[in-house]
Symmetry: D2
């Protein structure tokens, strides 16, 4: 399907605009439109997660103890059990004691949040974060 680009005008106080231009250029942007599109997408994606009705993508990152009894196999079983929601997982050996695992999952916000909550409650899992992003349907 051909995508259509629409152009429209916005007006801004000159001082506000000059602060914005300075800030985004310090972040590496070479294009004001691109920076504004990023702000719009961020807003829409955070709304998707709050509303909870559409499929989204979540990245669950957690650090856990390699020495926790049976945690490795517990984690693998848990992920298999939830295979419909989990696209992939990546494993990193941080040091003697700790591993990092990154799970990419796709589903409704509550389903993904539930998975993150459960992993967090496992004994031996020491820290967890959930990155909220999008499948890209309709809002990109």
């Amino acid at each position: 399907m051909k995508e259509k680009v629409i152009r429209f005008g916005i007006s801004l106080n000159d001082k506000l605009l000059s602060s914005f231009d300075k800030t985004i250029s310090s972040e590496g942007y070479t294009n004001r439109s691109e920076a504004i599109r990023d702000l719009i997408r961020e807003k829409l994606i955070s709304k998707e997660w709050i509303k909870g009705k559409r499929e989204v993508v979540g990245v669950i990152t957690f650090v856990y103890s390699h020495h926790a009894r049976e945690l490795d196999s517990h984690l693998i079983n848990f992920q298999h059990h939830n295979y419909k929601l989990i696209i992939s997982s990546t494993h990193i050996h941080l040091n003697e004691e700790n591993c990092l695992e990154v799970i990419i999952s796709r589903g409704k916000p509550q389903e993904i949040q539930k998975i993150a909550d459960l992993i967090k409650s496992f004994r031996g899992v020491k820290h967890i974060t959930l990155s909220m992003t999008t499948t890209g349907e309709n809002i990109l």
Copy 2:
């Protein structure tokens, strides 16, 4: 000083734009420019707080126990001692046990954060939040 308004164009994928228009209209906006200006200001204000170089405005809200020994007078003394940073405070009686206090302060981000940290550490203070906003100089 006369403020100058600048108008410029941005381009957006039509689906992204239509999602944005729906979202902002559900929030009460009647004007797309206004919604985009709000996103820009939010970004700049959060940057001001991170950089920490300019004067900002912070609103410190905390709930505390009316029954905590000498906390009331401790809080008043503390605020007097920091009077240069504190513009005003408002006090609400939540119930038999708890009070809410809202302090509006103006200063460097670290100074305001320091005040919030200290109040939080007082015994009897049960919850605290810090709202980060702006003096409005240059970025509004």
Copy 3:
């Protein structure tokens, strides 16, 4: 009603505990229990807001242009119309151009969020934040 204090034990890795003690002492805490109670309350209060079923307290802070046509009277009318949710408001003159207003409100999370969203959408309101805190019932 007499409040009851319960004492229980928790166990921690010694290095984790020593990092925690250093961090909280740098924030002004003199008491480890108090720092842990604060973490527990923060968690419970953020859950109250997410669940949305109980009455909470929200502090809405916004900066707006004194020169925006009829915004002052619009804001006053709006607040009167929502008087059941609004406990108090405090007004600060930031500079020639900008005012700061802090509204303390009490109600269900969605009701308070709705008020914040609406104020944000008014033309002339330039930045808004919502601090989420508690009435103190049951969880303090």
Copy 4:
């Protein structure tokens, strides 16, 4: 090295404790100590990122257009150039148009933030998040 576990007591209002127990059990915890340890680690890890002095682990997730001219090779070159900070990357095909990439990186907070900022500014990158976690040294 043998790790040492230390046990200590904390005291809590009975209503606060019962709210906490209910909340953590709804999240899957079977153990109060474990839930409190998680709160402590979250606090310490967020402090590590704020202070910026120690090595941390960051997971950068971004969605980008497969059709953006030369973005794929641009991203690969960029990652090679920063190979010292990047441990691994995982690629997912979301749909016809969009890809998801997850980069696990290790370094100082500002270095990782800089990488995320730069990727965000590339044209065709539509959304980015940065998950802040830890190497596990000393604080787990």
